[in-house]
């Protein structure tokens, strides 16, 4: 339940409110902020003063735009990108990935290391990632950036509250707590790859506030973004679209069920129709009009449409966004999938390709940490509650 409101939390909330508006509206004058937030000019001035001092924002001497002409021009306040940063991390089947992102959500550093993680122990994999991460932190520090936190994307169901990876079958992991193994000098949030990719799509893609992001990797996951925030379910396992039942009489799935979507539209099922088992080969065949490839896509599209029909009825997402391997295959999947979705009684949700690209998960993770900083600047300010008390 909600906590008691004291004067300091009142301050913290208003600080977050102001910083949030600065983040949303780009450079804004104090006067505009007062108007938007409903606070008085005085209060906004004081709050902005604190934010300036903490290095979260700067003033832009030129007032940026000049759409109103009369009166004293205001000084614009905008996010300051050269102090606070966040780390995005990703462990996937065949690569490790890091990025450093500043407060303005600009990527400052981006590094991917191709490794086959299937045959390594979780400890080894995480150790590798740790090296990458520490190197990134050093380089960020050299640029004056201090890292406030990190987010790690993992392919498989995660309980983000406890940071527990329940099982990442494609990595051969059982219950693992990667944050403990990483042992970094700042908090590390662990979440499912599809969830963080969905957030990536939120901030670096189309930018709509409500959608279901479908992540076609080796497994099929989905992240439901709802009012700009993730819906995670009771234990954090929501969005396992890959195991929605498409046909109860269908083939067995490694999850123990039968006829799961993954068996029809997972990477393995799709790339079966590729000459070399690679995506590029499949796309070549599709463009060449290969019958078998087209049939595989049509089957996958139909299955996807069926599963999404169930998902739409249960979750009521605003839009469906296809990401991962589904993005390049969109031209061939769209038709059959849309055909199945066409029958929904109420408003049929839009259907779109992801725009954030393959980096979505790392970017989304780092973006989530930035989001947390912006949502609670008081908790991340240099000497917020510092002081010598009894």
């Amino acid at each position: 339940m909600a906590q008691a409101v004291r004067h300091d939390s009142m301050r913290a909330r208003n600080l977050a409110l102001v910083l949030g508006e600065v983040s949303r509206n780009g450079p804004v004058t104090r006067a505009a902020l007062a108007e938007i937030t409903g606070l008085t000019k005085t209060t906004v001035s004081k709050l902005v003063g604190d934010l300036l001092e903490s290095g979260m924002v700067t003033e832009s001497p030129p007032p940026a735009d000049a759409d109103r002409s009369r009166g004293r021009p205001g000084v614009a306040v905008r996010l300051r990108g050269d102090r606070v940063a966040a780390l995005g991390l990703e462990i996937n089947v065949d690569y490790l990935s890091v990025c450093v992102m500043d407060l303005t959500r600009t990527v400052r550093l981006r590094r991917t290391q191709a490794v086959d993680n299937r045959d390594s122990s979780s400890t080894d994999v995480v150790r590798n990632l740790r090296d990458l991460a520490l190197q990134a932190v050093d380089e960020a520090a050299a640029a004056g950036l201090s890292v406030a936190g990190a987010a790690l994307a993992v392919p498989g169901p995660v309980d983000p509250a406890q940071g527990l990876v329940h099982s990442a079958p494609n990595l051969g992991w059982g219950d693992v707590r990667p944050a403990d193994l990483l042992d970094l000098p700042f908090p590390v949030l662990v979440d499912n790859e599809a969830n963080l990719a969905a957030l990536g799509e939120l901030w670096f893609g189309s930018g709509m506030p409500d959608f279901l992001y479908v992540s076609g990797e080796i497994g099929i996951g989905a992240g439901l973004v709802f009012g700009g925030a993730l819906f995670r379910g009771t234990r954090g396992f929501a969005g396992e679209l890959g195991h929605v039942v498409v046909d109860p009489g269908g083939p067995d799935c490694r999850c123990g069920g039968r006829g799961c979507l993954e068996r029809y539209a997972g990477q393995d099922a799709l790339l079966d129709a590729a000459p070399d088992g690679l995506l590029d080969g499949l796309i070549r065949r599709l463009t060449a009009g290969d019958t078998r490839a087209r049939a595989a896509c049509e089957q996958a599209g139909r299955a996807l449409g069926t599963a999404l029909t169930s998902a739409v009825h249960l979750l009521d997402p605003g839009t469906i966004i296809l990401g991962g391997i589904f993005a390049p295959l969109f031209p061939w999947l769209r038709g059959p999938a849309a055909e199945a979705l066409r029958h929904i009684r109420h408003v049929v949700p839009n259907f779109a390709v992801a725009e954030a690209g393959p980096d979505a998960a790392v970017l989304g993770g780092a973006g989530q940490v930035i989001q947390q900083v912006i949502a609670d600047p008081a908790g991340h300010m240099p000497r917020a509650t510092a002081g010598l008390q009894t």
Copy 2:
């Protein structure tokens, strides 16, 4: 986004915090409230004073329990049930229903009128309900209760933000705004029957904070309660379990899709196996061991299990609670449904019967209004912001 925090909203929040704890913990002393909320005794005293004055709480001269012996005994503060009330309303295919509930969530009045609403226009149906409602308000007023608001349950998808019933096929309704037609002197919240029944189960049933309530009526709906609140989806249409695809090659559904759960486990499908098309007859046959009846239940149970498998993967509910027609049929449905759910990889959710009974929706609706009053006492206080200002 969050609103600015001023002194008065700080007060409002702390008032809500105190009242919420009084509601959760029953009679509590001010000292205990101070401990629970983290506010000082002084502040709690002042807040309780306001709540006393507004008629939301009373003092219980006897301190109720006596588990600690030393020291001055405190005066317990508890919700006051004889001032503020809420109205629960329901329109269903063959009845109208009203209840008056006080702040302590005690039902003060309960009235159901059997009418076949299938052949009446929405205007007529709502006019009937209005009469019932006004009568209930009068009787409540006679008992000293003033109605703070109402909630109306309707069978079909509703956009609660706009109060718009999108289509209630079983009533023959198109887009209707019942709150406008009701024209009552307090706000009326309109929501889907399954959603409000889920809330009914939350407050008058098992009392767990996270579950998926499955409402088996003519249609099959579901309400997802998550941390004590409803998940509604982008437009409020989430939880349409009845149209989750059980078999893409199955029979056509009136929703335009194929093989929806409703075709296998809806009331029509189940009561087909009853001699007179009534539930009691079906149950008699089932207890008698009738083969056809048992087969119908087994098919329905299997289909329910399949649909719930998809729902569990997408929504990750804590528990599944079967309500409506499914509650009495639970003994025969449980086996086949659980069999399908058994295969889920992660934690299999519990499976239980609803305890709130057939009144769940009206009770849940009224309870929701009470919830709103408790969550914002300042907004419902007699002369909260009254005063003569410029």
